[in-house]
Symmetry: C2
Subunit: 448 residues, 2 copies
């Protein structure tokens, strides 16, 4: 027998923990479908040439090879024929959209919840296998600007329904940042963004030096950049602060209009969740409009649990360009924290609501009949595996976390016991209802 | 841009097709939970040593390697450290049970729906990546016999709820076959089973020869084996037929009792689905009790869509042995046939029930408000992406398969149009209900 052990970076949950993960997935799906998003799933593998298209993430890819590949059939030097596991759901989406463009209606509203794999060293709570949950709207050649707010509203509703401490969606827009830096006379916007991105890590003083040394800023310009990056408002007062710092011109005003619109739309849908945060610089080189990052109160160390934005070219061929707006939740990372910090718990650890007791093996058909009657009305139950003494059957239910034990009777005088309170009462399997809070498993926040 | 193309053996569905697949998964989950089964998911990878434990499937395994693995960190000669993708859900279950035995309550009722990978040549409709859906009850050291019928009942209920042509579960038991072959004087049971397993492929005459040449049967014994393997009954009349052929003795009678019990239990739960089929020989070397195979009427060429049975040792360590009963659906293979043969169809191709029209961009907030009111009551809707002419917005809905278009009005006199009938009527977004059959997507059999 080979050694049995957990693999670092490949999380696995116990059944009760899996209920929390599945709940997060269910909420995501329910809200996404309510907003007219269609689910797709893509194959787990892509040609290596697709995976390495951006050229920067090659270290993370897991390459596949058939253990006993025939000659010319396994891994080859040809990156079009070698397969790797996908490391996100964006590369597969780009390929899927191009491959199926004639069968899709645009704007294409899709969500996708699948495992992805990254061969990183599993440190800092990074996983090698984890769920991502993505939400994107993809246009063919064009995509209206208001979609940016639309997608943010859907994500805000998803996050709002999850059993989490308060969540804040931080939002910025590339136009506003770029417009401001230009307005105060800076040219090397990439260098400015790269410097500001280091704020949380190295602090204000060090970033000021970087802005001067790397981004060609004067001390005054550097100071203004730092002040700009400190603007965080829950309403549209960010606009006046930007103008007061010297932000002016068409691009700045466009950025203000854009950001204000997103904030108003999200605020109307889910009050209190959105916040303008002009320090967001990460990804502004990739995203071309609004950008989002999301933090959980008290768990800021997790980093952003949900990020994304507008990008002008997800994919393109010689006929069409596909712009998009997308947001992505690092679902396993979030669930892992929910479990380790005990943020949410299922109301019971198993789906079973009722254990139907068995008086003796000859009476098992009566127990089966009671279970069938309960299931017919959607009440999850199982029949005791053995006709042990009732005390032992009750302990079995208790150990598994099953709240009710049913005692069938040949005389039609069944009884049901709530083993938490010890209360026992006559009941009819064709009509008995458990209390509403016990009918289904609920996943509730613990308030931590 | 790298070449975009489908990969043979890696099926992918369009959004409307994915709805069918998700429906099959949802039904599986709902029925399994109703019977008190807990879902687990296991990591996609196992050490190669685990995957090759049985020694016979090595050609199918995909081995992983990090593209830029550091020295001593990638694939090694050590099969305990090299990782491969799982090719079924049984090997991972065995490992999971051993790894988590102290945190699980036995009998452990689990279901698991995940992708598996096999590096086979993708011919004969075989996939390299596909969903399996497994249902198992695992005991610690012991597992009562009646569990075999329990698991069959759950699977019968799942299959009964799927939008499929009539399904038949064929059942046999190892005790009955072995008892019968011994009763008529045969010794080499493995050879007998191996010969009979070839019946569908090579036919009666060729199997008769094999039984004589390979299994040491006399012509009379061979004839009896063939007659035995022809016994298929919808009720317990198989028992008399076995006895008439000379089947007698304790093992035969035990087998008859076992098989009768399973048939009665399943027949009571889902009438008409179960059938005794004494030709089932495949897997009788692995399974130690009842064995199941399942066929879809008119699609027998698919082979068994759901197989399994009782096994006395899923796993073991130096403290415990874990016997089990399990059934597994080849879900992707089944869904692929459902789609290609048009056996079932979603009532609409997208989740969206209502497209809310937009009169002009200034009026978009009114459209958003109507959509929010509808969603609040669980009616899936989306707002038109652009304020095109209403005719164009209606064609957009039509192209996407959205049944209703909503026209908001600033005077509170909204209207809703069923674009299939053309009927249009005043409506209030806070109270309007779509017809019940349009509220949710239904996946209905086409009757083919």
């Amino acid at each position: 027998m080979a050694k049995i052990s957990a693999l670092s970076g490949f999380p696995e949950w116990l059944p009760a923990q899996r209920l929390v993960e599945q709940h997060v997935i269910d909420v995501f799906r329910e809200v996404a479908e309510l907003h007219g998003f269609s689910e797709i799933q893509t194959r787990a593998v892509e040609p290596l040439s697709q995976l390495l298209r951006k050229g920067e993430i090659d270290k993370e890819v897991y390459v596949l090879r058939r253990l006993h590949a025939e000659e010319g059939d396994g891994e080859t030097a040809d990156p079009d024929r070698t397969l790797g596991l996908h490391f996100d759901l964006t590369v597969p989406l780009a390929r899927y959209v191009l491959e199926h463009q004639n069968d899709l209606a645009f704007p294409f509203r899709r969500f996708q919840i699948q495992k992805v794999w990254r061969g990183e060293r599993p440190q800092d709570g990074r996983f090698r296998e984890f769920y991502q949950a993505d939400l994107d709207v993809i246009g063919q050649d064009t995509l209206p600007g208001h979609i940016e707010a639309d997608v943010a509203v859907v994500m805000a509703e998803i996050l709002d329904r999850l059993p989490l401490p308060p969540v804040t969606i931080h939002v910025n827009t590339r136009r506003l940042s770029e417009g401001f830096f230009r307005a105060i006379g800076l040219q090397d916007l990439t260098a400015v963004l790269r410097s500001l991105d280091k704020l949380p890590k190295i602090g204000r003083e060090a970033v000021r030096e970087l802005l001067v040394s790397d981004a060609g800023a004067s001390p005054e310009q550097a100071e203004k950049c730092l002040d700009f990056a400190q603007i965080r408002t829950r309403d549209d007062s960010f606009a006046q602060q930007v103008r007061d710092l010297g932000g002016s011109g068409e691009t700045v005003e466009e950025g203000i209009t854009e950001l204000t619109a997103v904030m108003h739309r999200v605020e109307a849908a889910v009050p209190g969740v959105i916040r303008a945060d002009l320090s967001i610089a990460r990804g502004l080189d990739y995203y071309t409009g609004t950008v989002f990052e999301t933090f959980v109160e008290g768990h800021e160390s997790l980093g952003s649990i949900c990020s994304g934005g507008r990008y002008d070219q997800l994919a393109a061929d010689n006929r069409h360009t596909y712009p998009g707006v997308g947001l992505s939740i690092g679902l396993s990372r979030l669930v892992s924290r929910m479990l380790s910090a005990d943020l949410a718990r299922p109301s019971r650890p198993v789906p079973t609501c009722v254990l139907v007791a068995v008086a003796d093996e000859e009476a098992r058909p009566a127990s089966d009949a009671a279970a069938t009657a309960l299931r017919r009305r959607g009440i999850a139950c199982e029949v005791a595996p053995t006709a042990a003494k009732f005390g032992k059957q009750i302990r079995y239910a208790d150990r598994r976390g099953i709240p009710f034990v049913w005692f069938p009777s040949s005389e039609g005088s069944d009884e049901v016991k709530d083993i938490r309170s010890g209360e026992q009462a006559p009941a009819d399997a064709t009509t008995w209802e458990p209390p509403a809070e016990d009918r289904w498993i609920r996943i509730a926040p613990t308030g931590r």
